[in-house]
């Protein structure tokens, strides 16, 4: 399968280090919602340190695809390997993978009854079994990285949307994940808050994190992605380096999509 793909990767000019180690491999994966064939024969290999942007019209299956990677959705056919571990019904495998994969949601999903700091330390304490002090120190480090350490003792309800999304990123980072999944992290935000979240994500990309990002922020894609994947109707229609993808789209549907989204 990966003829085309390795070709692509080789062609892309690596702005940041991409290792040969495979982080995620998806082979001939299918998924149905009832009778509806939502993901069709998905093949994808993500190397460590790669930053992939997935775009496509709504309902094309992009979110479902990345939700399959940490088993929030279950695939019915094909294989998914994350850091060499296969995703099966085995709860041990699932727990292992979820520990390694961080996820940021469109609607933040912060826990409203816990302070920002508690949101960040919850999983390290209960999953990684870290002492509280250590967990808090690590959390403060990441909160500083997303530039909101001063909000640590507030509740999520007291923060703006952009701040909440940055807390959500910090919360995921506190688990020291190897891979980060972003499910439309800026679509629920007011325009003036989008850039603060994107800045955080760019900084994260520069640190070498493996990222898969479902987003319509094409500027972000150009800037950090080393591959852009276009999905439609549950299929990967086209995948390419951002230069080629934006300047010379191959597939008709990609062209149409880009013309619609880049009109303004």
């Amino acid at each position: 399968m990966s003829d085309s793909q390795s070709h692509t990767t080789a062609q892309a000019e690596p702005r940041m280090q991409v290792s040969d180690e495979v982080a995620i491999e998806i082979r001939n994966m299918h998924k149905w919602f009832g009778e509806f064939h939502v993901l069709k024969n998905i093949n994808l290999k993500v190397h460590k340190g790669e930053r992939i942007v997935v775009c496509g019209p709504s309902g094309s299956g992009k979110s479902t695809l990345i939700r399959c990677i940490n088993r929030l959705e279950q695939h019915q056919k094909g294989d998914i390997f994350v850091s060499g571990v296969e995703l099966t019904d085995d709860i041990k495998n699932i727990a292992e993978i979820r520990r390694e994969v961080g996820m940021v949601f469109q609607h933040f999903n912060l826990f409203p009854h816990l302070t920002v700091l508690d949101n960040c330390t919850l999983a390290p304490i209960w999953v990684r079994k870290l002492p509280k002090r250590e967990a808090e120190e690590a959390a403060m480090k990441y909160l500083e990285r997303v530039r909101i350490p001063e909000q640590a003792h507030k509740f999520p309800g007291q923060l703006s949307g952009g701040q909440q999304q940055r807390v959500a990123i910090a919360r995921s980072l506190c688990m020291n994940p190897e891979i980060m999944l972003f499910d439309e992290p800026t679509s629920a935000l007011d325009p003036e808050m989008i850039s603060e979240v994107l800045d955080t994500m760019v900084a994260l990309a520069e640190s070498g994190m493996t990222m898969i990002c479902v987003t319509h922020e094409m500027g972000f894609a150009r800037k950090v992605a080393n591959r852009v994947i276009f999905m439609d109707g549950g299929e990967i229609i086209e995948e390419n380096d951002p230069e080629t993808f934006f300047n010379d789209p191959q597939n008709e549907r990609t062209q149409l999509f880009l013309s619609q989204i880049l009109q303004h």
Binding site: L72, R99, G102, H107, N109, P112, V127
Partner: protein
């Protein structure tokens, strides 16, 4: 017609259109109407009472009541006063409410959780059970359970459950515990176990904060609280005897009796309220968005901990206020015991005492005052709680 400036000035100066004056007038009128109405009622009542030769006041509470009551927590005989009958009624109301609240909560939570299981059949079965119990009047359920109790075998054919417990149409006859000297060690052990459990929780929390290790507090505590009193009991040489009821010619002798009225009222109240609690619990858990669960799972939390750390703390905020109002409803509904002759507050004070003394105003006012006190004090506590747990928002 053109309104000239003079007209306009006049328009503005009218007393009728002055907002403050209108407000005052309206309030004065309200007071006047309400006051007149009240005065009308009071004067009528006074003259009616005078015509019937009834003196007002609460003196009747110290008069000898001259009736007997079953189901009493404190001894009550024909020579006791109406005041004591009132206390008997109040205690009975509190008893059936307290036991009912416990049963209703346990059953309600179980039903509510079963409603949410992914098992379609189980969830549907519970749905229909809850809908049937919720949509049939409570009084009917009380009557039904009471008829069931009355239709049980007569005392001489009482069903023997084998452990000294007999069931008959006169209720449940169970062995009465007799405390022998040295028994006090058992409650002391229980107390010690509870204190130990609290200490353990604190220790476990500290240890987790320091080392990250999770200690199975719940299981250990459960064992501690259950086992320690048992061990103490055995160690003290089983200082507890039972008075087994014996079937004589005129019913049971010895043991203690749970009357059919109490059982019927308790069952009806508990199951009726449990059905409402089930809905509250279900709605409370459903109110927590699916995103919360997903976020917790994505962080690697196990489903059990997701429930304990994320869902339950948030769901409780939604559940507790309506739950309290169900508890209040249960307490108020316990007044329906009057329909089957359970000697609760309404039956004693607004029933027999009222009929004997004719002090309708005092009896009903006192009854209402008791319920109001209970309701308002619980509402007050609830408001404090709500203020404490309210989610901090911008």
């Amino acid at each position: 017609m053109a309104v000239d400036s003079a007209e306009r000035a006049k328009l503005g100066s009218s007393l009728w259109t002055d907002q403050r004056f209108r407000g005052l007038l309206f309030q004065a009128l309200t007071i006047g109407v309400a006051g007149t109405f009240l005065a009308f009622i009071i004067s009528n009542t006074a003259s009616n009472l005078a015509a019937r030769g009834i003196a007002s006041g609460f003196g009747f509470l110290s008069i000898q009541a001259g009736y007997e009551l079953d189901n009493t927590l404190i001894p009550f005989g024909p020579t006791d006063s109406h005041g004591r009958a009132f206390v008997v009624g109040l205690l009975n109301t509190l008893l059936v409410s307290a036991v009912g609240v416990v049963i209703a909560t346990v059953v309600g939570f179980i039903l509510g959780v079963l409603r949410l299981t992914p098992n379609w059949l189980l969830s549907k079965a519970v749905y229909w059970y809850v809908e049937i119990v919720r949509n049939v009047p409570l009084l009917l359920q009380i009557y039904f359970w009471y008829s069931v109790m009355i239709a049980l075998p007569q005392v001489r054919n009482a069903v023997d459950l084998g452990i000294g417990v007999f069931i008959s149409n006169r209720g449940l006859q169970a062995p009465a515990p007799i405390l022998e000297p040295g028994f006090s060690i058992v409650p002391l052990a229980l107390l010690a176990a509870i204190v130990g459990a609290i200490a353990l929780v604190r220790w476990a929390r500290k240890r987790q904060a320091a080392t990250g290790q999770v200690f199975p507090v719940f299981r250990v505590n459960l064992a501690l609280i259950l086992l320690l009193p048992v061990i103490a009991y055995l160690a003290a040489g089983r200082p507890l005897g039972f008075e087994i009821p014996v079937l004589g010619n005129f019913g049971f002798r010895g043991g203690f009796t749970v009357t059919p009225e109490f059982v019927a009222l308790l069952l009806a109240l508990s199951f009726y309220t449990a059905a409402f609690i089930a809905e509250i619990v279900r709605a409370g858990i459903l109110a927590i968005s699916h995103g919360q669960t997903e976020a917790a799972l994505a962080l690697g939390l196990k489903p059990r901990w997701t429930m304990r750390l994320i869902i339950i703390p948030q769901a409780l905020r939604v559940i507790v206020p309506p739950l309290t109002s169900q508890y209040l409803n249960l307490t108020k509904n316990s007044s329906l015991g009057v329909a089957i002759g359970y000697a609760e507050l309404v039956a004693t004070l607004s029933g027999i005492t009222l009929n004997q003394t004719g002090q309708a105003v005092e009896c009903i006012a006192l009854t209402m005052a008791v319920y109001l006190t209970i309701s308002l004090s619980i509402s007050f506590v609830m408001n404090l709680y709500n203020r404490r747990i309210a989610l901090v928002e911008r």
